[in-house]
Structure formats: C-alpha cells, structure tokens
C-alpha cells in the first residue's frame, strides 16, 4: 500500500524531479514510522491508516507546486539581475579595449552608429529597471500555503517584468552586435578583433540564458497549473 501511494505522489510531483525525490524519501520515512508506532496488529490495516492520515497526494502536490514555483521565480529574478550585470561588464570591457586598440567607425557609418547606440542605451537601462523591479517584486512576496488568485497574479506580474527585461536585453545585445560589426568591418582583421567578438559572444550567451530560464519557468508553471483549483 505504501509503494503505490509513494508512486502516485511522485507522479503528482513530476513538475520538479529533485523536489519529488526528496519529498518521496521524506514521506516514506514518515509513513514507515507511523506504521511502526501504530498499535494495531494487522500490518495492512496500519498501512491503510497511515496513508489515509497522510492525505490526498494531489492536494499535497498542489501545495508543493506553490513552494517549487516560488523558489524557481526567485532564482529567475536573481539570474536576470546577474545576467544583466554580466552584459554590462562585457560592454565595459569592450569599451576599455577600444581605448587600448581603437576600432573607429567609418565616416559613412557614423549616423547609423549613433542611432544604434541610442537604442542600445535605452534598451540596456530598460532591462536594468525591469530586471531589478522583477527581482525585488518577487523577493519581498510571501509564499502562500496554496494556489491563490492573488499569488497567480503576482507570478504573472513577475513574468511580465522579467519578459520585459529579457526583451530589452535582447535588443541591447543585438544593438551591441551591430555596433561591434560596424567597427570591425571598418578595421583590418587582427588578433585584437577577438576581444570585441568574444565580449559580444558573452552578451549573446547571457541573453540566451535569460530567455531559456524564462521559458523553463513558463513550462514549469504550465505543468503545475493542472494542480491549481479551478477558478
């Protein structure tokens, strides 16, 4: 009776495999202890009683879904801030390199360069503001005991802020890519060109990681949605 119960609990918790393993191990210990301490002589009856007292696996999984989503959202919020900071460092490193090895813009590309630079700056500061707002917003929220309409709305707001940060970061990285290309096209290829290229590659990787984290959170939320009570 214990094994099928634990298997069902594991199935209900499949939205978070590592949490599922930990919870199943904890619950198994609980149920075995409850059976050992049950004064009833019939082992099967003791197992039945322990499982009945523990409750419906789906209801328990629904409560864990909120805990799991909250932990993931906090991790995504922190990741957004760190990844935006990493993009900033890569940008600053590239600019510092231009101070050592100049890669001037060609005269005919100057107007385009200035326009792209303006887009780059606005997009970066939008990413910073949205990313910080999302991180603080989810960081100060208390995790409720179960799915509530209010908490679902909070998660939606957080997703919107993070999506705005990610979209702005993608625009910023794309603009950096264009600006770097304009400088490299105008210059002779040399080993010194690797530094701007690597810095742009780092920026692209940061933006890609943020987008993939957001997609993973959306998938996670979709998997847990079946456990939320109908509105």
């Amino acid at each position: 009776m214990i094994r099928p119960y634990l298997a069902r609990l594991a199935r209900e918790l499949d939205f978070d495999p590592s949490l599922s393993r930990q919870v199943v191990q904890e619950v198994e210990d609980h149920l075995r202890e409850a059976i050992e301490r049950d004064p009833v002589a019939d082992r099967l009856e003791a197992e039945r009683r322990a499982v009945a007292r523990f409750g419906d696996p789906r209801a328990i999984a629904a409560q864990f879904a909120v805990v799991s989503l909250a932990a993931l959202a906090r991790r995504v919020g922190l990741a957004a801030v760190l990844l935006i900071a990493a993009v900033f460092i890569a940008m600053k490193a590239r600019l510092a390199w231009y101070g050592v090895v100049p890669f001037p813009l060609a005269e005919e590309a100057r107007a385009l360069g200035e326009m792209v630079l303006a887009i780059d700056r606005w997009a970066f500061w939008l990413a910073v503001l949205a990313g910080l707002a999302g991180w603080v917003y989810i960081g100060v929220r208390r995790t409720p005991g179960g799915f509530t309409r209010e908490y679902s709305a909070q998660l939606r707001h957080f997703s919107l802020l993070c999506s705005a940060a990610a979209a702005a970061l993608v625009v910023c990285v794309a603009a950096d890519g264009v600006l770097t290309s304009l400088r490299l096209i105008a210059a002779q290829w040399s080993i010194a060109s690797l530094v701007p290229l690597i810095s742009v590659a780092i920026e692209i990787a940061c933006a890609a990681v943020l987008v993939s984290r957001l997609r993973a959170m959306a998938r996670h939320a979709a998997r847990t949605a079946r456990l939320a009570p109908a509105a």
Partner: protein, 110 residues
C-alpha cells in the same frame, strides 16, 4: 482558521529543538491535546516553505532504524519570527478575551 496559523504552529512545535516531520506532527497533537489533528501530509509543504523563507534549516541524517530522515530546526530568523508572532497572538487573544468577558457581564458600552 487553523490553515492561517499553520506557520506559527509548526514554528512553535520546533521551538524545543530539531525534529523530523513525523515528530513535528506528534508534538502538535500532543501540545494541542489532540485539538489540531491535521491531515499529516499538509505539514511537509509548510516545512519546505518555511525552510525556503529562511525560518527553518533542514538536514538529512540517518535514523536509528537506518532510514534516511530529514530533520528541521529553527534558524535565528525563525526564532525571531516565532517571538513576533507569539507577541501578536497574545495581544489578539487578550483583546478577544476582554471582549468576551465584557459580553458575559452584560454591560452595554456607553
């Protein structure tokens, strides 16, 4: 009503020292004289949520039975949170007690 106070109940049950989930439930039953007889599975999400909030610290250990067991204990933040909630609860309980005592004497407010 009990649901809204589960965090405080679990923190209070862990105040005497570290315990695993089953022991927490037994402690709640014992100290409430059986009044709080919850579905046992509801305690585990609360333990995980409080751990995530930094109010509890959990660690795996091996029990005498040889089974792997997760034991929880209050962190410094958890002790502060429990003290705060206890103070608020006592204030609330005193206020309600006063209201009930007033209604028993049948006196009407002026």
């Amino acid at each position: 009503m009990l649901k809204g106070h589960l965090d405080m109940i679990v923190l209070a049950a862990l105040a005497p020292g570290p315990a695993h989930g089953y022991a927490v439930i037994e402690e709640i039953k014992r100290r409430s004289a059986g009044a709080f007889d919850l579905p046992e599975g509801t305690i585990y999400p609360v333990l995980h949520r409080l751990e995530q909030a930094g109010l509890l610290a959990g660690r795996w250990m091996t029990a005498d039975s040889g089974r792997r067991r997760r034991v929880y204990e209050l962190t410094r933040r958890g002790e502060h949170a429990l003290a705060e909630r206890r103070a608020v609860w006592e204030q609330f309980s005193d206020a309600i007690g006063s209201l009930f005592r007033g209604s028993r004497t049948g006196k009407r407010p002026a």
